[in-house]
Each structure stands twice: as C-alpha cells, then as structure tokens.
Symmetry: C2
Subunit: 340 residues, 2 copies
C-alpha cells in the first residue's frame, strides 16, 4: 500500500496534524520539525490522497476547462497553457465540452458543477459571455475566469483577454499602409463578443483612413472553415472583388485561401489575405498567413493561475487582464497589383 499521513507521522515521531502542516506549508512549525517530516515523507515516498483532501477541506486541486469552440487549435493552446500552470502548482485540469445550442445548458452545467469537485472553472468563448451561467456559478459558489469576454462581462468578473479592437485596427492599418483600399471583411460568430470587437476595429480603421466600406464587403461567418468558404465565394464571385480580405480568424482565412486556390486567384499577387489568432494552422498552410498573434497559451495559464491563487491564497501577483498581441506578417499579404 501507499503510505499515509499516519505512517509519515509515526516515522517522524510527530502527530498527523504536524505532518499536515508541513505538507501544506502552514506556518508555526520549527525548521527542525519541518525537516524531519520532509525526510520521513521522502523516505516513505508519501503522496497525499487528493480525494481525502477534497473531502476534509475545500481544496480539490482540480480545475475545469469548459469549452464549446469550433477551433481545436484554439482550445488546445488554452489547454496547454492551463495544464502547464496547473502542473507547477500541483493542480490538475479536467476538460468538459459543453454544447451551447442546448437549451438546458444552465441545468446541465449545474449538474456538472455539483458533481465535479473543482476549485475553479475556466470558460472559453462563447461560454465566456453567457450571462445565465453567472448565476449557476454563484449558486454553487465556484469561482470562474472567462477568457476573452465582452466588455460587459469584463466589468463584472475577473477575466483575461486581449484588446481585439486595437488588434483589428492595427491589421487594417497595415493592409491600408501597403496600398489596399478595397478590403473585404469576414465577421466571426455572432455569439462571440470578439467578433463584434474585431469588426468594430476594422471599421474604425477604415473610417480613420477615409475609406468607404460598402455593405457587400462585410460578410457574416461563424469562425468555421465552411462559413469562411461561403463568404469567400461571395466576395470573390465577380470581377469586382476586393484586393484584400481580412477574416476574423485563421480558419476562415484558410477558407479564403482555399477558394482563391480553386478560382486560380493568386495569393498574395492578386489577393491579400489576413487572419486572426495565429493558430498552428496559420504557419502550416500555403501561403503562410499574415495574422494576429493572440496570446492564447498565456491566457490559459493566466486564467489557471488566477483560479489557483484564489484558492491557495498565495500572494503571487495577479497578472494584468489584457495581454499583448502582435501582427505577424507572412506571405499571404502584399501590396495590390491591380488598382481597384
């Protein structure tokens, strides 16, 4: 059998409680005692039993990641960041896909949270902005951190995110700066607040440059490759097409590339394409995508840290809410060959 606290206590010649104190880094233990206990624990290769801890205290050493995101890459990056942060602090990450279109999501979530013994929950878009969820979390008293929430949500609960408006502005300014005047824009899923913000940034940059954006240059997608394809087909249908297309994420930008490929429209010579997110996909397709590097990995790790610190009461600095982004210029964008 695995060693228990009692074994360690016996070997170290102290009480169980003292062992517990040492293992949890509580104060009021002499250096000498602490050492003795640690030695005993090491000798017995003692590992705390998380179930027992969870039962006796309120700390479960478990975080949950809830998602319903079409982009596997996005979730993978968040997950990687979160697991990394967890690992360093003795926590573990439980992943739970949640289907949003489900009408009973509130009930579903409540059942889940009441069963699953976790110290906190990370929410990814579009879950981040579902206000109905807030009540559920408050009800079961489980803290949560939404990733990339709307301004409205942001005001209510701690969160991590980035400045989508500015990022979209910068990308648009870049396209304008290399000579594009007629730029198509593919909007993301309406239930993701980032979609709206990115569109706002695009429009504001166009306006600032004195460029007109006709209605038919803005198309509604939903972040999926398929939706990007449909939009690209419309955008690239006739001879009157934009010289550049800015898609709200990389998957949709990849779809534009794909449609252009089929139509023998050369990228970037005849058409520039820009994405958003800098997922692994962006560097893997041809031509590689000019896009915006989102600190997705960091968002995951920051969110996990916020939750863990809330639990362990460590005084580790609470990181800033808004993380940095960068424009990554690759081969999918170039000055327009043809003037519109």
């Amino acid at each position: 059998m695995t060693a228990t606290i009692t074994d360690v206590a016996r070997l170290a010649g102290v009480s169980m409680k003292t062992v517990s104190r040492v293992l949890n880094n509580e104060p009021n233990v002499t250096a000498k005692t602490r050492e003795r206990v640690q030695a005993a624990a090491a000798e017995l290769r003692y590992r705390p039993n998380l179930s027992a801890r969870g039962l006796a205290s309120s700390r479960k050493f478990l975080l949950a990641l809830l998602y319903d995101n079409p982009s596997a890459e996005y979730i993978a990056a968040i997950q990687a960041g979160a697991t990394e942060a967890c690992r360093k602090r003795g926590f573990h990450l439980v992943v739970e896909p949640i289907r949003v279109p489900n009408g009973e999501i509130t009930t579903e979530l409540e059942v889940l949270l009441q069963r699953l013994p976790v110290d906190g929950v990370i929410l990814t878009p579009p879950l981040s902005d579902m206000n109905a969820l807030k009540d559920v979390f408050d009800d079961v008293k489980i803290p949560y951190v939404p990733i990339a929430p709307s301004e409205e949500t942001k005001a209510k609960v701690p969160s991590v995110g980035m400045d989508d408006i500015t990022a979209a502005e910068e990308m648009t300014q870049y396209l304008i700066s290399i000579g594009h005047k007629d730029i198509g824009f593919i909007v993301g899923a309406p239930d993701h607040s980032a979609s709206h913000l990115r569109k706002t940034g695009f429009l504001s940059a166009m306006k600032a440059a004195g460029l007109d954006v006709p209605q038919n240059r803005i198309l509604q997608g939903d972040f999926s490759f398929e939706s990007g394809k449909a939009c690209a087909q419309k955008l690239l249908a006739g001879a009157d097409r934009p010289t550049a297309i800015f898609a709200s994420n990389d998957d949709m930008a990849a779809a534009v590339l794909s449609v252009a490929g089929k139509k023998n429209i050369s990228v970037p010579n005849d058409l520039s394409v820009a994405g958003f997110d800098d997922t692994a996909l962006a560097g893997v397709i041809w031509p590689p995508l000019t896009t915006i590097r989102q600190p997705i990995h960091d968002m995951g790790s920051r969110a996990a840290r916020m939750l863990i610190n809330g639990v362990t009461k460590t005084t580790e600095d609470i990181p800033p809410l808004m993380l940095e982004h960068n424009i990554i210029v690759r081969a999918s964008t170039a000055p327009p060959a043809r003037q519109s």
Copy 2:
C-alpha cells in the same frame, strides 16, 4: 448546502446504505424502495460527492489522458471521443501533457499517478509503446489502454488501434492505380510504432506492384510540419523528382504542399500528395488532402469505455481492438502528367 446521502435517506425513510445501493444501481432493492429513493434524491437535487466516493470506495469517476503528441488535432480528436464516452457514464477526463524526452519520465509518471485519483489512463503515441511505463502502472495498480501501440505492446495489454500496414498499402495501391510509379515516402517519428508500420505497408505495396524504391525516395521525418518541410525540400530539389509523395501524416503532407507552392510546382498536376490521419487540417488546406481517415475519435471513446467498463463491471460489449479506416480521395492527388 448541497444535500447529502443522509438527507435523502431521511426523506425517503430508509437507511443511508439503501440510498447508496439505489444510486449505484446495486441489486437487492425492491422496485418500490428504489422509486422512493429516486424521488427523494430528485426532490433534494442530490448530487453525489465524488471526493467522498473516491475516498470510501476505489471508484474515482475520473480518467486521465496522457499525451506528448506534436499534433494538436490528433489529441483533440482523441480527447473529444474520450470526453464523450465519459460524459455518458458520469465520468470525467483529466488531461496531462507529459514530455517524453525527459529522462525521468518514469518517476514523473509515478508521482503523478500516486497523486491523481483516477480509475484508468489513456495513453497516446508515442507514450503507448514506452515499455518502462508498464511497470509503473502495474506498481500503482492503475489500468491503462494504449492507443495505436506496436504489435509487441498489443500482445501484452488491451489496446485500441487500427491496421496501419494495410492502410498504407491501400493508399500506395491507390497511387499506383492512378499511374504513379515514382513515389516518395516521408516516414514519421521513429519512436511512434505507427511510423514503422506505415513504411512497411508502403514498401510492401510497392514491391507487390513490382516497383523499385530507391533509397533517396524514403526520407525520415518526425510527424512535425517542420520535418515535413525539410524532407519535401530534399525530395523536390532537382528535376529528378517523384510524381507523388506519400507523407505519414497530414501535417507533413501539408508541408509538402507548402514547399511545392513555394517552388511553383502545381498540385495535383505536377505532383500528387497524400497524407495520413484525416485531421481537420486535411480538409482545410488547398488543395484538400487525399488521406486516410483514422478513426481517432472512436479510438478515444473506445479506450475510455474499456477503462470505464473495467471499473463498473458493466457487461457492455468490449469493442474490437482494431477499428476501420478509409481512404479519402480529395484534390491533392491525380494521375501523373509527366512520365518518370
């Protein structure tokens, strides 16, 4: 506070133990009693406490997914399958990335497993074949299911996988059938047993067709996009290049596409490219990739079910070990224009 078993017992007018029996679907409870207890549980919105269960019994309702795989898509698919299977049965999935190059992986894993209260572990390649791990699992008495292990591992423990050799043979036969005679092959990471099997399948099909495979047509990759790029560069360097390239996974095939794009080699006119896995990427790039659909999602769900059934002793049928695959022909392959 949340209701406990005691509350339910009181309301139903029975003992805690009887409630426990009902909740766990144990036999020897009258239909009447069972109903009464269920009604009481529903009324109180009772949810079992997993920590308490884990402490009192040996069932933790938690499975772990261990991975160290360069392909996010692959893991995402396994994970999706596993979480789905877990959800249906009241289980949850903990994800744990493990860095294989770490010399002390055995110790690391042992610490992890002794801490983490799970009922079973799903292992993905290349972890599937690390024989050193077997001892650790046996030591801590945690069952595990490797996904896509080698023949050798397969003989030792229950596992789920597919027939890599036949699949690679079929793809090769397909390429030959449309007229290719000079086919380049990019091998996967040497520590993945699938790499070896796929290469074997390729060679056997070529041999069966009476086609010669010169040394310089076989290049060693490691499943990463970067390695695929390096191999493609060599394969496509001079005028003497193959008319088709069969890469051992989609990421490397995407890299071939990317190199061909840069060199203005038109796919599929001047070069056919085939991949393996049918990850989301395959349908998203241009041209979409001819590839082999691996039942990755199913593998995840089958593995989870095997583990769960082992625990719950349900008599649900243990699924067959080898799952079906299909060739998916898309636009990246076509008969060769030029004869070699």
